[in-house]
Subunit: 323 residues, 2 copies
Amino acid sequence: VNEFALIERFFRRAPRDAAVRLGIGDDAAIVAPTPGFEIALSVDMLVEGRHFLAGTDPERLGHKALAVNLSDMAAMGATPRFALLAGALPASDDAWLDAFMRGFRALAERHGTELVGGDTTRGPRNLCVTIVGEVPAGAAITRGGARPGDDVYVSGSLGDAALALAALDGRTKLDRDALDAARERLERPLPRVELGMRLRGVATAAIDVSDGLVGDLGHVVERSGAGAALDVGALPTSSALAAKLDGNERALALQCALAGGDDYELCFCAPPDARATIARLASALVLPLTRIGAITAERALVVRDENGAPLRALPRAYDHFAP
Amino acid sequence: VNEFALIERFFRRAPRDAAVRLGIGDDAAIVAPTPGFEIALSVDMLVEGRHFLAGTDPERLGHKALAVNLSDMAAMGATPRFALLAGALPASDDAWLDAFMRGFRALAERHGTELVGGDTTRGPRNLCVTIVGEVPAGAAITRGGARPGDDVYVSGSLGDAALALAALDGRTKLDRDALDAARERLERPLPRVELGMRLRGVATAAIDVSDGLVGDLGHVVERSGAGAALDVGALPTSSALAAKLDGNERALALQCALAGGDDYELCFCAPPDARATIARLASALVLPLTRIGAITAERALVVRDENGAPLRALPRAYDHFAP
């Protein structure tokens, strides 16, 4: 199978979206933007041995490679429209590519996102997805709009992806059902795309929780010139993680909930008068949207325990260039 | 230096282009498209050991990583506007990144292209650039528009990048000046962006010569449902390559001119009544635009030697998945 045959077989499809004027197979794709909208652009690179293990199920990897990008669109309130996929593979492997693309495409179709371009080459396994979304002009939700007094929310639940990693690494134990559920969060994260779009005009700031709540909310407050106070007792967690938070694995559980990456939930801010709107949104999406604290004028990030006492040391966010 | 410091230090700059509503530093960049234009999207991945050697001058690599993408925009007749850069690096290396970004930025500025997003991680060295361009609605130059009777042109000269590689590999010899000139073509290709934009409404089809003339023109004729006849005697080459074409290294020289990749010239088609327009364009751009053959109705690619006899075997294009 040569490179061109690869493209024909795995990547090229008749475009479903009329906005795709020219899909895979030319020097570039051509797409028509929606009048009155701005374009959101983001790229993420996943490296074998760093973001995923050799031997990871390729279908799950295809899902995740797109999910992390869709999550960036969600965090901007943007509608994902088009994706480009560049990949280095150690060797031509039809079964692997077929499964990878099955995972990628299933998620793309769920969100109406069209694969319009790509590049394939040999090399150490590396997957790089670029996502192109749209948002009404001026309506993008940035990291910099939070104001003192705003509520801080998080969608879904936090820490399960990190909990799955801890269990897989032997740092903690989970029963079979809890491990399966946590592992699903780690390997098949569901980007909160619909939530992001519905938060346009409601949220003052948003970010996706990819590096851990403390680090990610830290970016929001830094950009917003503000601070935040969070309550550990308010953090939404799975029952498995909640049990550890209340037991003798509290340190690990706090690490998972406050600094665990890979959950791909949205953390967002909104003024108190939006509470009813946000409650209705949670019902409509059948997705918990939990108020976990507030934005403060003082430029510090404080996390309070169940008794209201601030935690001394905050778990650190993941840093790809840390030693 | 952590990942966030890296981004601040090497990647983030105040946007120069008013269309950049939000640059590096949020979950996605936000850009404003030009009304009446369509968006061109392309991605290229460069892998160490495959597309460039370990130890390649990082400034030249920064130039080339962007150049190959700008060349895709040129081939569509699109104006490059925005770029995203994702990179895996084996270790944090300030001097390397600084030089890489110097090369990248110098070329970006020359073409008014703004770096709006990126991702950095550790891993085997891999650079993935996504380019976003604009073209007036309906004006993109595709691979599929060539018609029998059209002239086939190529810009600049062909084969010097491959000649440099052959000399560096010890497969041929070049005097110092010729090697320097050829190596410049290999390591600092100049994408024909202005030419591509000026070919809107003139060229019926275009492609950039990245994998070799025969292979790349092959894509054009396949998409156009046509064929082509080319004349070796008409191919524009440097004097160093021309000397080999006329001498006892003819096979190597033919390989360079017909199948050498990495020249990043444009190959394009236009009806004969556009000859005067194209001649004026060549003068205006101070860039040779050489007629090298014609599109034929018969679906075959024929290359004729200086006596008009067809070459028996055509050199093959580069295939990243060939054994």
